[in-house]
Amino acid sequence: MAAELHVELVAADRSVWSGEATLVVARTTSGDIGVMPGHQPLLGVLESGPVTIRTSEGQTVVAAVHGGFISFADDKLSLLAEIAELADEIDVQRAERALERAKSAADASAERRADVRLRAVAVG
């Protein structure tokens, strides 16, 4: 059996996804980082962006994460985010509409949120 790491993806008000994975790729403030089983203990600040989780069954789970943290120790990885959504949960049309609206209203944070959602869907 290949080495695995246990992933917990939690948002402020719920637990979004948890399970076994072989690889997790996330974007920290100092660049993309890939975590595999046996990685050195790590605690980093996440940028808004898609997080890719390769599960032990070979599937890929993509989630849009809006800010947050990644912490890894003892083959347990936690992704903490105020808001986190799986790519399947994201309503593309709604996100597109939100992006349009944010652009016309020049709301930078809303624009970023919508953009992150769309990028997560594109990756997934």
């Binding site: 948002a11 008000d13 637990s15 203990p41 790590l42 605690l43 600040v45 943290f69 105020e82």
Partner: protein, 305 residues
């Protein structure tokens, strides 16, 4: 119908209507407690992981941060008081306010100025009526607080902590809210949120003490702590708001249950009184008829002679 009887009937009708309302409120509150409890449980993983991360940074590095270091002579403290928006919840808001008053008195006794921040219309009304100064207040979400609400509340508090005391900043941050112990027990508690004491933080989220590995910090320990602590405060406030919401519903359920019971008792008593009045009416009517016919009989018997 006798006048007395009519008065009783009317009172029974009005108490029955009141009972229906209180019964409905009791059931609504009961269903909301469950929902609120579920929300508290759903927020637990995030809070636990966050506490773990904060503990890891604070113990794993020698970083000094304004949010974790105790000031030698704290001059000003902020108190965040969580009350409810609506009444009819027994002593819920009054108890929280009393706890805040005790804490304020204690802090003043220690020579600190106190800035009060309030959540909930009841607390705002209490302070407004007494014309006391409130640094900031928020209303409208105590029934079912969202994370965004907690963020809104946390922002000025964090800002106040970051500011220098001389410029109106605060050195300490306390929160007073009603802890949800069980369906029957909710106790108002006051917690010091900042400066952070790690032992307490662990206790509160039920974390066991474990030896944490040496973390690699990305980008650096200072930056991680800088980003973590505001989130930590927000998550603590979110948790407090959720617990307060659950407590509020539990307090309202209990208050409405005793109101319903009371109305039931009142109806029983009034019904007995109404029955007695009815019987008295009937007895009087019978005795009037009997007396009248006896008088009539006497009169006719007399005229016969």
């Amino acid at each position: 119908m006798g006048a007395q009887l009519r008065v009783y009937k009317r009172r029974i009708r009005s108490v029955t209507a009141t009972k229906k309302i209180t019964k409905a409120m009791e059931m609504i509150a009961a269903s909301r407690i469950v929902k609120a409890q579920r929300k508290v449980a759903a927020s637990a993983p995030y809070a636990a992981e966050l506490t773990r991360a904060v503990t890891a940074v604070a113990t794993g590095s020698n970083t000094k941060h304004p949010l974790t270091t105790e000031v030698e002579a704290p001059a000003r403290a902020a108190v965040l008081l969580v009350t409810s928006d609506r009444g009819l919840a027994g002593g819920y808001s009054a108890n929280a306010i009393k706890a805040a008053e005790r804490l304020t008195a204690r802090l003043r006794g220690e020579g600190k100025e106190v800035d009060t921040f309030i959540v909930g219309r009841k607390g705002v009304a209490y302070f407004g009526f007494r014309e006391r100064k409130v640094a900031d207040s928020w209303t409208g979400f105590t029934d079912s607080p969202e994370y965004a609400d907690a963020k809104k509340v946390a922002a000025p508090l964090i800002e106040a902590v970051r500011k220098d005391t001389a410029e109106g900043g605060v050195d300490e941050l306390h929160i007073v809210f009603t802890e949800f112990v069980s369906m029957m027990t909710q106790t108002p508690v006051d917690n010091r949120m900042l400066p952070l004491s790690l032992e307490k933080a662990k206790e509160e989220t039920g974390g066991k003490s474990e030896i944490l590995p040496l973390f690699d910090f990305e980008p650096s320990a200072e930056d991680v702590l800088d980003a973590l602590l505001p989130r930590y405060v927000e998550s603590r406030i979110y948790n407090a708001l959720l617990q307060a919401a659950a407590s509020e519903h539990a307090a309202r359920r209990r208050a409405m249950k005793s109101a319903t019971d009371n109305a039931g008792d009142l109806i029983t008593n009034l019904t007995r009184l109404a029955n007695a009045a009815r019987q008295a009416d009937i007895t009087q009517e019978i005795s009037e008829i009997v007396g009248g016919s006896a008088a009539l009989a006497d009169a006719t018997a007399g005229s016969d002679k």
